[in-house]
Structure formats: C-alpha cells, structure tokens
Amino acid sequence: MELTFDNNIPIYIQLLEYMKIYLISGVFKCGEKLPSVRDFATTFKVNPNTMQKALAELESMNLIYTERTNGKYVTKDEKLIKKLKDEYAITLAKSYFNGMKKIGLGKADSIEYLERIDE
Amino acid sequence: MLNKLLKYDLKYMIKNMSIFYMLSIFFAITTRILFDIEQSVIINIIGQISVSCMFGMIASILINTMMKSWGRFRDSLYKDESYLTHTLPVTKNELYNSKFIQTLIFFFIGFIVIILSLFIAYYSKENWLSITNYIKTITAGLNMNTFFFIVMAIILIFLEVFNAIMCGFFGMILGHKKNNGKLGYSVLVGFIIYLIAQASIIALLFIYGLFDSSVMGLFKSGTISIDVNAFKTLAIIASILYLLIIYGISLLCKKELNKGVNVE
C-alpha cells in the first residue's frame, strides 16, 4: 500500500491520520493484532522510526496498546473508536460547510446538495 | 588479507600478460622450425620476420611488465579504483606488499619466458660455443666460469630493472602528494630517485674499493685484465646494494602510504 505524503507536514503526523482512518473504517478491528512496526514500515514504505512514532502517538491516545511479548493490538474499547469516528465525521462535515459558506451557500442548501449527490 | 589482494593482483597480470608470453614462445618455436628446415630465400625471409616478432614480443614483455606494474600501482592507489582499494579492510602495508610481490613474480616469470624463448629459438651446441667464446674474449684472462658470468649478468640486470620499478613506485607516491601535475611530478621524482640510487651504488662500491685494492683496480685500471675475484666481489656487493636499496625504498613507500592518501 503506497501512501502519499505531503513533505510540508511532519510525516509521523500524516501516518497517524492514516492509521486513525484505518481504525475508524475497520481495516483494523477492535482487539485485532496489528502487524509489527517493521511490517507496517515495509508496507507503507516509510522509515520504521517514523512508524514507531506514529504508533506511540496512537498508544498515548489509548487507541492501541502493547502486550509485552505479543505485540501491538487495537483497543477493545469500541466506544473510543466510535468517539474517534464521530470526531472525524464532524471535522469532515465542518469542512464541507465551510467550503459551501465560501461560495455563499448556507446549511440548508448544503444539506440539499448532499441529498442530490449519488451515494 | 594479503593473500586475497595478491590473488587479484596476480589474476590481473596473468590476464594482461599471457598473450605476450604465448606469442613470444610461439615465435621462438617458429623461428627454430624455420631455421632448422631446408633454407630457401622465402623461408629465410619468413624466418627473419619470425625472429623480429620474437624479439618484438620479448621487448613487449619487458616494457609491459614495467608499464603495467606502474599502471596498476597508480590505478589501484590513486585513480577511480582506489575508492574501492582504500575502503577494503586491509592495511596500507598489505596493499603495498601485494603490489611488490606481484611485480616481483611477474618480472621473474617475464625473465624466464624470455630466456626460454631465446633458448628455444637459438640453442644448439654450436651457438652456445660461439656465445661462450665471445664472452671469453670479454673476460680474457679470467678463469671465470662462463655460466657464472651469464648468471651474474642476468641477476644484476634483473635487480637493476626491479630497482627502477621501485623508484617508479616511490616517485608515484611522492608525486601524488602534489595537487597539480601529479603525473609530471611522479615521473620527475621517480627519475631523480633512480639517479640517486644508481649514484649511491657506484659511490658505495668506490668506498668499498678504498678498503679492497683489487676492487679499486676495477675503477682505476683501463684494461680488462682484472682479478676474477674482484669482479666476483663487485658483482656480489652490487647485488647486496641493490637489495638494500629495494628494501629501503619499500620501507619509505610504506611509511609515506601510512601517512594517508588524498585521493581525488
């Protein structure tokens, strides 16, 4: 899986965002065992140290945890993942509305446009 | 590690010199054949060509052994290949020793091939007799074994040429310390060192002559009626001096190399 990166933003932050999306979208399910840092780095074609940093961040957010001899796992806390999803969805929505506002369309119009587009 | 370096240095020389060895022997054989069979004008002409080719190959062996030894020394230590040579986990002494031994071996082989070629082409009882008679006229008054004379002459020539090669190596090492005109300096310095080495030998022999009047006789007397022992002594001492110079220059070369190289 080749990820695209913007060199202007710290790589580990971008990796973090990608990982969050994988967690939210269920690519990695609750309680599932994650690949090793090395495997991640090879798949994403990134520096293992940077990958490690991103995973450390995820861990500090309690989204993943480390079992000493077995490796890293996705949190079993479904509510936490749901909360993450919520936050992400709201950020997307805000971004949409802001975009529409810029071209002079309000919330009601925005919702109407949403219903017009195909799923 | 020295063995490994030597392996590759020898491989290189074999690849580059074999053709000359083979051609030299080949033309020696053709010369022998052409002069042994019934002579006619055509055979005679072809024979002469064969002889010229043989001597051409002999000259090539001498020149190429010298040039390629120097060339390989320079390429491995100072040109693009040096980026590999100097990053190998070997000491500078090992690098030098490998080149030294390789040069020695190939000079030795070269000499043997030359002698062999001449032998194949020319050896016959009559020829040997005429050569020894000729030498006897030179060494008139000497009760010297002709064979000894020839052997001594060959050894001295060998040492002389090897000496020149060493001077070339040292000249290259010193020449490369300059930032510009490395080749020019290398040749100049090498040549100067060669002259110094030759002068030293003569000077030291003269000094020896101050203690040994028979050897001094060789310096003073214009005639060829010399003491055979003096001649023997001269030859032996000259050989020892050559060896000392070769050893001394090697030590200096290694000392300079160990100071570090600055590769372009």
Binding site: N7, N47 | M1, E81, T87, P89
Partner: protein, 231 residues
Amino acid sequence: MKLLEIKNLNKSFENKEILKDVNLSLSSGKIVGLLGKNGAGKTTLIKLINDLLTPTSGEILINGNKVGVETKKVISYLPERTYLNKQMKVSEVIDYFKDFYKDFDEKKAEKLLKDLDLDINQHLTKMSKGMQEKVQLVLVMSRNADLYILDEPLGGVDPATRDYILDTILSNFNENASVILSTHLISDIERILDEVIFIDKGKIVLQSDADKLRNKEKSSIDEIFRRMFKC
C-alpha cells in the same frame, strides 16, 4: 558509544579550508540526510570518514575506533563514481566482495541483481555507466554493515529505479545500522529521513530531527533548504 563521532574536524587543501571545525554525532538505527550545495563539503566529509582523505586536524571515530581496518569492516560506501575493475564480470566482482567482506550476503546480491535486470555473467566493460552504478549499489546494499554511506545514489537514475533504491534502503534498515544519504534531490528522499544535516561552505549549519524541523518551520525540508541557501 555512538556509531559515528566527528570532533573538531578540519580539512584544507593548498591553504583553502574545505571543512571547518566539523562536529557531528550519529547513533545507530537512523537514516540521515547530508544535504548541501555543490562544493559545500559533503563529499570531502564522506571521503574523510572512508580514509580516502586525511584530516588536517580533528578526529573521526566509528564505534569508538579511529579510521582504519576495523572501521572499514563495518562501513559500506557507495561513491559517486564507478570504482570497479572493468575487466571483471559481475560474478567476479561478487566473489571479490565476498572475499574481502565477511558481512557480504551473496544471496541478497543475486536477488537485487535480478530485480534490477542485471546479468551476473556480463562483463562490466559491456555495461552502460548507469548499469555499472546499479551493480555498485547492489554490492553496497548486500553488505550487513553498521554504517552505509551513499553519495548521490539517486543521481543518474530513472524514477522507477529511484523508488527501488529507496525501498531497498528501507527494507535494509535495522536498529544496529545507520544510513547517511548525501544528495541534492531532497524532495525525493526527505520522507524517509530521520535526521537532516545541512552543510554549507564547509560548516555544519544544522542538525535536526526531520519531523521536528518540519513542525518548527511549517515547511518541507526541501523548502527550508531553498530558503536557507537562496542564491
């Protein structure tokens, strides 16, 4: 003990100072970019680490050892030029490396050669410069060294091979080794770098964690470099 320690390194040629008071420290397990303009001193620094030049003053230590036989055993160096004996075939060069370097992995070399479409039985003289450079890269990456130093590895290479080279560097990665990448093609490689070192006019002007620098300047390393060294 650090993998690489450089203390007060100075190098002058004919009264011209090429490197001035360089101090550098590098740990294992890092991929570092050595970045600078042409003539800034990158290659000089690299050659000094590899014993191709002698310092005017100062010290270079690798795993605590002074530059010499022991350090050469653990450094795998890819110079900018072709340095192989062109009379050899690729297979002979592989044997050569196997002979001199205990850490040379022949199987890996064969695999890399295959991936890059290089014929192991071909003579180097029959190969284009680009192919020879690829062979050199294979040799360098097939060693299990502690320090890999690659001088402009992406220079004359097509984009597909560039990607392959970066992938190989990443897959070669282990915590006990570090890689120093010297290059101008910053935007191509910056995303795999842990640290960056900027060198200008013979002096180290910056050594920093890559992401930290991006965060601080809110720009890519490439952009930061351009701003700093604007002509």
